[in-house]
Symmetry: C4
Subunit: 445 residues, 4 copies
C-alpha cells in the first residue's frame, strides 16, 4: 500500500523503465535486422546450429525417405526456400510404389484372415496394415504441404526473441536429433530381437532350413496363394521391415513436431518471464500478443496437416497395447520369447507415453503466459492490450488434436492409462480367482 | 511497433478503410433489397437453386410423407408462406393411422416377448417399436411446428451475406439432396439384402411356400394370435417396411438439419474471414453479432423441436450397434447371412457416425468466429461491440442436444466410440482365452 | 446500421423507455409495499394460495412428522415467524426414539449378516439401514436449521417480482403438493404390493399361520435372537414401515426443494424476458443482479443444509438399481412376485430420474439469464452493471450438490444412466452367449 | 434503487468508510511491524503456538527422520533460517543407506516373483517396493528443496492478516499435529495387528519356533537365497517396518501440506468475508489480490516439489484398494485374519479418502474468493483492481496435482470411488449368480 511519496517514486520508476523498455525494443528490432542480414550472407556451415526447426528435422526426414515416406525435395537445403514437392521426382514414385505394394499386401492379409474366423485377435494384421497404409497416404499428402508449412514456420521463427547463447541455440536441435535416433535405434533393436526370438527358438518350424522357415512364417499370407520361392520371401520380408519402420516413424515424427512447436512457445515464455514484473510499454504487449497469436495460427495449420496421423498413431498404439496385454496372460513358449515380448511391450508403452507427453507439452507451454500475466504489477496492467491478451488466453485451448476428436493434453494420459488399467484388471480377474490365501509351504522339512 | 509516422499513416488508412467498409455495408443493404424484390417477382423456376433451406429440404420431406411422417402441407411451394399444418388433411390422418397400427404392432410384440423370457436380447423388437413410435409422434408434433420454424429460418437466411456465385449458391442444396438420397438408397439396399438373406437361404423354413414362410417369419408376433392369411402377412410386411424406413429416416432428417444450420454459420464465418484483418466500423460488428445471435436463437428453437428425436436416434443407434456386436461373435448360418450381417453393421456404424459428425459441425462452425476475432488488429479491437462479441463467444456453448442431456459435439464421438470399444473388448475377452500362442502348422509336410 | 437520423430517434426512444422503466420500478416498489401490508393484515385463509414455499411445503412436512422425521414446530403457521425448533417438544423425542430403534435394528441386521457370508448382495439390509439412519440424523439436524432457512427463503421470496394472476400464483403450490402426494401414494402402493407378493404367494412358508409367517419373515434378524412373540413381530413391522417411508421421503423432500428453488429463478427469468429487449435504466440491472445473487446465496445455504441427504439419496438409489438389475436375471418364483418386482423396479427408476430432473432444473434455470442478456440491444448493453452481471453469470456454476462431490445437473443423468447401462450389459453378457441365431421352429407341422 | 438523496448519503458513507479502511490498513501495517519485532525478540518458548507452519510440522518431520526420510537439518529451530540441507550430515547418509537397502530388497523380491508366474497379484511386493523406493528418493530430493520452500512459505505467512486470538492462532498447529499422530498410531496398530494375525494364528507354520517361523515368512524372498539366520531375519523385519512406515508417511505428509496451504487461503478468505460488503479503497484490493497471487505462487512451488509423491501415493493407494477388494471375496482362514483384514481395508480406505479430502480443500478454499467478490456493492465494484481480481479468479484452477496429470479436487473423489465401485461390481458378479431367490428355511420345525 504505497503512500503518496511512494507513488511519485513509482511513477518516476515507471518512466525510467519505459525508457529502458523502449531501448530494449529497438535493440530487438536492430538485432533481428542484423540476424536476417547475417542469414542472407552466411554459408551452409554457419547455419548448422542456428536452431531452426528446418535444419533440425532434415536428417530425420532423410531417414524417412529411405523408407519411402515424405517424398519432399530439398530437405538438406540451407533455407526453407529450397524445399519443394513435385510429382516428377523418383522419391514420389518410390512412395507410390510403396503404397501399392502395401495395398497388395493388405489384400493378401484380408484373404488369409477371412478364411480363418473373423475376431478381434485375428484382425491384428489387418489393423496393422490399414493403419500404416492410411498413415503413408497422409505422409504423401503432408509432403505436398510441407514446403508451405515450413515457410510459415520459418517466418514465425524469425519473429521470436533471439537465443542468449550458442549453447542455448543449439540445444533444441540436439534434443530433437537425440530423441529421433534413440527411438530409431530402439525400434531397430526390437525388430532384431523379434527375428532372434523367431529364428533361434522356433518352436514349430515350418521347414528344416531356418531361413526358409523364417521367411515363410513372416509372409504366411503370401505363401497361401503362391508357391514358396526365395525371392518372394525376401520381398515379403522387405515389405515387413518397411511396415515396421513406418509404424514406429509415425510416433517419432509426432514427437519431433511436438518438440518443435513447444520450443517456440517456450522461447516466448522466457521473454515474458524476464519482462513481466516490470512495467512495459503497450508496444511490448502488442508484440507478444501477436507473436503468441501467430504461433497459435501455426499450430492450427500444423494440426490440420497432421491430425490424421495423430489419430491413427494413438488409436493403433492403444489397440496394440491392449492386444499385448491380452497376450501377456499366456505362458511364453521360451525365455527368448519372454525377453522379446516384455522388451516389445515396454518399448510400446514408453513410445506411446513419450508421444503423448511431448505433444502435450504444447498445451502446457501455451497455458503458461496466462500465469505470467497475473504477475504484472497494477500500474502496468490496465492497458487495453494486456487485458485483451489475458482474455484471449483465458478462453483459448491450444493443443494438437487427433482429427479434432480429442485434444492432446496431459489429462489424456490419465484417461488412456485408466482405460488400459481397467481392461487389464478385468482381464486378470478371470485368471486369478483360485490363487489367494493358499499356503505355499516350500521350505518345511 | 509503429513510430509516430507510421501511426498517422495507419490512421489515414483506417479512415480510408472505414469509408470502404461503409460503402460495403450500403452495398449489402442495396443488394439485399434487390434480392428481396427479385424474390417477390420471380417465378418458381428461378428459385430452384436460390439456396434456401426450404427448397432444399422439400423432396426429402415429400419422401417422408410417402412413409406417413411429417404431415405438413405446402412443402413444394416456392416460399415458406405456403407451408401450413391442419388436422383436416388426409396426410394428418394417414400419420395417425400409422401411429395406431404401430401401437397395435407393438402390443403384439410385447405379448410375444413376455411369453418368452424377458432379457436384453429378446427386448430388441420392443426397443425397435417403441423408439420408432416415439419418433413418429415427435415427427407429428414437429409437423405442427414446422411452418413457424421455417418462417423463422427463412427470416434469418435473408439476413445472411449473399453468396458470391451461382455455383456457390446451389452447392448446399445439392449437398443436402445428395446425402439424403444416398442414405435412402443404402437403406433400401440393406432391406433388400435382408429379404434375400432370409428368402433364398432360409435355414429353418416354417412353410414349404417360400413367400408364405417369409411373411410368416416377418410377422411371427401376429401369427401367434391370428391364423395365417395372406393379406395379414402382406399387411405385416408393409408395417415392417414403414418401420424400417422410419428408423433410417430419423437419422437422415437429423443430418439434413445439421447441414442446414452449419451452412448458415459457415456463411457468416466466410464474411468474417474476409473482413477481420481490416479495421471495420462498429456497425459491421453490431451487424455480425446480432446475425450470429439470431442464428443461435434459431438453433435453440430447432433444438427445442427436434432434441427428442435426437435422443431417440442416438440411443437406439447405440443399442443396435452393441446388439449387432453381440451377434457378431456367433458363426453365421450361411455366407448370404454373413454378407447381409456385415453390410448391415457397416451401414449402421457409418450412418450413426455421419449423423454425429454432420450435427456436430454446428458446434465447430459456431466456435470459429472466436478464433477469427483474435486476428482483429489492435487499432480496431477496442470497440465495445467487438469486446461484447468476443465475451459472448467465449462463454457460449452452441450445439444441438439430445433432450438437453448431452451436447452433440465431436467429443461425443470419442465417448461413444469408447463405450462401444470397451464393450467389444469385454465381449471378446470371453471368447479369446484359449487361442493365443498355439502353433498353427498348416504347410508342414 | 442506424444513420444519424435513426440515432437521434433511438435516443429519444431510450429516454421515453427510461421514463417508462422508472415508473415500472416505482410500481414494483409500491405493489411490494401493498403486498406486505396485506400480508400482515390477512387471515390464514387468504394465504392458502399466496404461493409462498412455506405454505406449500407444510402438509408434506406434516406427513413426514407422522413418520418421525423433521421435528420442527409451527409448520402450519401462517408465516415463517411461527417456525421454531426446541428439544422440549414430544416431536423431537419421538424422532430420537426412532433413531435409537433404527440403530438397534441395524445392530441386529449386522449380527445376522456377519453370521452368513459377507458379500455385496448380503449387505443389502445394512446399506438400507445405514443410509436411512444417516438420512434421519440429517433430517433431525435440518429441523434445527429449518426456521432460519425458511426465514431467509421468505425474505428472498418477498423481493421477487409479483405473479400476474391468481392462477399463476397458486400453480407452483399445487404442483409441489401434487408431486408429493403422487409419490407418497405410489410408495404406499409398492409397499402393499410387496405384502401381497409375500403373504399370498409365500413359496417357502415359515409357519402355518400366514400372519405369523409374514411377520417372522419381515424381522428374521430379530427372531434369530429372541423367541417369536406377536407384539415383537408387529413392532418389527412398524419399524420396517417407518424405514420404507423414510427411504422414499428422502427423494420426495429433495424434489420439493428443487421445485421451490427453480420456481424462484423462473420468476426472475420471466421478468428478464419481458424487459431484456428494451433499454432499461441501470437500476433495473442492479435490482436483477442483486436479486439473482440473493437467490444463489439461498441456494448455497440450502445446499449446505441438505447436500448430505442428496449424497445418500443418489448413492442408495444407484446401489438399489444395480441390485435390482442383478436380481432381474433370475426367474421369478410366481407371477405375483414378477408383478411386484417390475413395479418396484419401475418405481425406483422413475423416482430416481424425477429427483435428478427436478433438482437439476435449478441449474437449467440459473443458466437462462446469460442467454437473455445476449439479447440486450447495443445501446443498452454497455452499462457497468450489465457487464458485471454477464461476467458473473458466465463463470458461475449454480446447482445443488451431493456433499460437494458432484453438481446435480442434467449431465449427471447421462453419467448415471451410462453407469447402469454398462453394468447391465456386462451382466447380460454372462447369460446370453448361447441363445443367438438358433432356429426357434414353433409352428412347423 | 437509490434516489439522489440516498446517493449523496451513500457517497458520504463511502468516504467515511474509506477513512475507516485506511485506518484499518495502517493498523495492519503497524501490528505486522510489532509482530515482527516481537518475533525477533522472543525466546523459543513464546513461539510454540505462534501458528507458523514451520513449527507445526517440526515434530512430524522429526518422526520421519527416525525412519530415514527427509534428512533436513534444523527442523527444531525457532525460525526458518535455521533450516539447511547438507550432504555432510549423518541423516543424509542414513537416508542413502536406506535407499540402498530398499533397492537390494527390491531385487530379491523381483527374483522371487519372476521365478513364480508373473501376474498382477504376484507383483504386489514389487509395486510396494518400487513405489516406496521412488517416494523415498523424492523425499531425499525434497529435503534439498525444503529450506528454500519453507523460507518462501514463511515470507507469505508474514503477509497474511493476523489471527484474532490466541486460541485461533494455535488451532491449525494443534489440528496438524493431531491428524499426524492419529494416523501414525493407527498405522502402528495396523502393523501390530498384522503381526498378531500371523504369529498367533499361523495356519501353515514354516518352523516350529514361532519367532523363526514369523521372521522367515516376513522375508521369504531373502531366505530363498541365503540360509536362515536370526540376525538376517531381524534385519529383514526392520526393513519391512521401515517400508510400512514409509508407505503410510507419504499420505500423512501430503495431508499436512494440504492443511497448511488451505489454512493460508482460509485466513485470506476470513479477511475478505469481513470487508467485502463495504466499499474498500483500491489499495485493499491490490493488497488482497497480490496476497492471493503469492499464495498461489507458493502452491505452485510446493506442487513442483511434491507432485511426484502425490502421483505415487494416489496410484499405490488405488492399486492396493483394488487388490484388497480382490482378496475380500475369499474366505478368511481365521477370525484373527478377518479382523486384521477388515481393519486394514478400512484404514486404507479412510486414509486414502482423508488425503484426497484434505488436499482438495486447497481447491475449495481457492475458489471461495470469487463467490465473495460477487457480494461487493455496485458502488465499490467498478475499480480496475476488483475487475482484475475477479477475472483472474474466474479463469484460474488452483490445486495440487499428481505430476500435473490430474488436479486434486473433490471431483476426483467421485471418479476414484466410481472406478473402485465398478471394479467391485464386476468382481461380485462372478460370485453371485446362484444365490438369489433361494428359500433359506432356518427355523421351520
Amino acid at each position: 500500500m504505497p503512500t503518496t511519496g511512494e507513488r511519485t517514486r513509482s511513477k518516476r520508476w515507471i518512466l525510467r523503465w519505459k525508457g529502458h523498455a523502449r531501448k530494449w525494443l529497438l535493440q530487438i528490432k536492430r538485432s533481428n535486422l542484423q540476424w536476417r542480414t547475417a542469414q542472407e550472407r552466411g554459408t551452409r556451415k554457419s547455419f548448422i546450429h542456428k536452431g531452426s526447426f528446418h535444419e533440425a528435422v532434415a536428417p530425420v526426414l532423410a531417414v524417412a525417405q529411405c523408407f519411402c515416406l515424405m517424398p519432399v525435395l530439398g530437405i538438406g537445403g540451407s533455407s526453407v526456400r529450397s524445399l519443394h514437392f513435385t510429382r516428377k521426382s523418383w522419391r514420389f514414385w518410390y512412395s507410390c510404389l510403396y503404397l501399392c505394394s502395401t495395398t497388395l499386401d493388405l489384400m493378401f492379409s484380408i484373404r488369409k484372415v477371412s478364411h480363418g474366423g473373423l475376431d478381434v485377435r485375428s484382425v491384428e494384421p489387418i489393423v496393422f496394415h490399414v493403419s500404416i497404409l492410411i498413415a503413408s497416404w497422409h505422409f504423401l499428402h503432408l509432403a505436398n504441404l510441407w514446403p508451405g508449412l515450413m515457410r510459415h514456420w520459418a517466418a514465425v521463427e524469425k519473429r521470436l526473441p533471439r537465443y542468449g547463447s550458442y549453447m542455448e541455440r543449439s540445444h533444441p536441435v540436439r534434443r530433437i536429433r537425440l530423441v529421433a535416433f534413440l527411438l530409431l535405434s530402439l525400434s531397430l533393436m526390437e525388430h532384431l530381437l523379434s527375428i532372434i526370438a523367431v529364428v533361434y527358438y522356433d518352436f514349430c518350424p515350418r521347414r528344416r532350413d531356418p531361413v526358409e522357415s523364417y521367411l515363410r512364417g513372416t509372409s504366411l499370407h503370401l505363401f497361401e496363394v503362391f508357391a514358396y520361392s526365395n525371392w518372394l520371401g525376401w520381398l515379403g520380408k522387405l515389405q515387413n521391415v518397411l511396415l515396421t519402420f513406418g509404424w514406429s516413424y509415425m510416433d517419432i515424427f509426432l514427437m519431433i513436431i511436438g518438440m518443435g512447436l513447444s520450443e517456440m512457445l517456450a522461447r516466448l515464455n522466457r521473454s515474458l518471464k524476464r519482462h513481466v514484473r516490470h512495467p512495459m510499454p503497450e508496444e511490448y504487449w502488442t508484440w507478444s500478443r501477436t507473436l503468441y497469436r501467430s504461433i497459435v495460427e501455426l499450430i492450427r495449420e500444423v494440426d490440420d496437416a497432421i491430425s490424421g496421423i495423430m489419430l491413427i498413431s494413438f488409436g493403433s498404439n492403444l489397440y496394440f497395447i491392449c492386444l499385448q496385454l491380452l497376450k501377456s496372460i499366456n505362458t511364453m513358449p521360451s525365455s527368448a520369447h519372454a525377453v522379446y515380448f516384455y522388451f516389445s511391450l515396454c518399448f510400446l508403452l514408453s513410445r506411446s507415453s513419450m508421444v503423448l507427453l511431448l505433444v502435450s507439452t504444447i498445451n502446457d507451454r501455451a497455458r503458461e503466459p496466462l500465469q505470467l500475466l497475473r504477475l504484472i504489477p497494477s500500474e502496468a496492467y490496465h492497458q487495453p492490450e494486456v487485458t485483451r491478451f489475458a482474455a484471449e488466453l483465458a478462453s483459448d485451448q491450444v493443443a494438437l488434436t487427433g482429427a479434432k476428436f480429442f485434444n492432446v493434453t496431459r489429462r489424456l494420459f490419465l484417461a488412456m492409462a485408466g482405460t488400459v488399467a481397467t481392461y487389464e484388471l478385468v482381464l486378470i480377474q478371470f485368471h486369478e480367482d483360485k490363487k489367494s490365501w493358499t499356503c505355499s509351504v516350500e521350505t518345511f522339512d
